[in-house]
């Protein structure tokens, strides 16, 4: 079951651009199998495989973020700048969808307030992956200092990445 779930998540990732981080995208994943399923997964099947309601969407978002970290290993050079740039470029194709995706992550069901941990965890994982790619040898407190600064840089760069905006007839946003 775990293998099927992972495989379908991988097949869903290319569909995010057109279908968004949605249960519908997950349902469509079976159509991309080598021996395609005749029709999309039912909502019950999506819930069984990936979780109920927005939990399935969170699973997809986490899988997309995991893939983004893997893509960092293919940066053109082993500098922090290029590695982080590679990660930010991965965001470009779905940049309009990211604010809502992160909002979904930080507002889990059953909790009446914003939970910043998923966002902090994401930045920390990106920073750790970046350090791993550049073969950082830090130990002890400097391990934390380096990753904290890289996470802050990545977060700031991500926040300031422009999203597409709708312009009025005069060309103003």
């Amino acid at each position: 079951m775990a293998g099927v779930r992972t495989r379908l998540l991988q097949l869903t990732l290319p569909l995010v651009r057109s279908h968004g981080f949605t249960r519908h995208a997950l349902a469509q994943s079976v159509l991309a199998l080598p021996a395609p399923h005749p029709e999309p997964l039912s909502d019950t099947a999506v819930s069984a495989l990936f979780g109920e309601g927005d939990e399935a969407r969170r699973t997809l978002i986490e899988a997309w973020l995991d893939e983004g970290r893997k893509q960092m290993r293919h940066a053109p050079s082993r500098s922090i700048k290029d590695v982080l740039a590679a990660r930010l470029r991965y965001n470009e194709s779905v940049v309009d969808l990211l604010p809502e995706a992160f909002a979904t992550l930080v507002t889990p069901e059953g909790i009446p307030f914003v939970d910043p941990r998923p966002a902090l965890s994401h930045a920390a994982k990106v920073a750790d992956e970046a350090c791993n790619v550049v073969n950082d040898q830090s130990v002890g407190p400097s391990w934390y200092a380096r990753r904290t600064s890289i996470a802050a840089i990545y977060t700031a760069a991500g926040v300031t990445t422009p999203t597409n905006v709708t312009k009025d007839s005069r060309g103003f946003p």
Binding site: D136, S138, V139, G140, P141, Y144
Partner: protein
Amino acid sequence: MLRIAFNRQPLLLLSRRTFATEASSRALPSAVYTNASGKGDPSTTSTPEDITEAQRKVLDAALRVDQAGEIAANYIYNGQLAILGRDRKLRPLIQEMWDQEKKHLEVMNKLQVQHRVRPTLMWEVAKVAGYGLGAVTALLGKEAAMACTEAVETVIGEHYDDQLKELDEMSTSHSSIPLLKEVIKEFRDDELEHLDIAVENDSQRAPAHALLGTVIGGGCKVAIELCKRF
């Protein structure tokens, strides 16, 4: 248990020291980390990706604790030497043990990077507590300093044994885990050798030896549990 064994079987000390001497003439497992021979080898440069999340947490915690332990051990000997550095008999012994711990720490730092382990948040606490423990016990006398070494190395030796059992349960085809087990065995034997040295140098004649050993041993176990988590 080890203490009783040493009281009743002093020959065990000789046999362990003889083994260590023989081992030193062979290439030690940790040598792949301390010299350049292991560069580029996956066993020293990468971490297994085919272990479960639970096993990853076990590996993470194990290496974090080991690294913290070696930091503390370094500073214990540093503290002891600061007080007992003028003792002609103990100085070379403490220096030799400290030099071994420096090598252990060097290897643990490389293992931390290789396996992408988060180092302990108690890093600076380990330094201060280690130095303080070494210096205070040394101020109580040579025997108390040796009792401190005996207590710490007993806990560490048992801890490494427990880790070897955990690693035996790890099913992976990655070559880094068998190497890690060999390194831990080597370090365990080094720590037990330090225990031998401590006993030979009258650790059991320290004032309130049993109380000192219990308190220090208990403190080490608490530190191990804290470093596993933090």
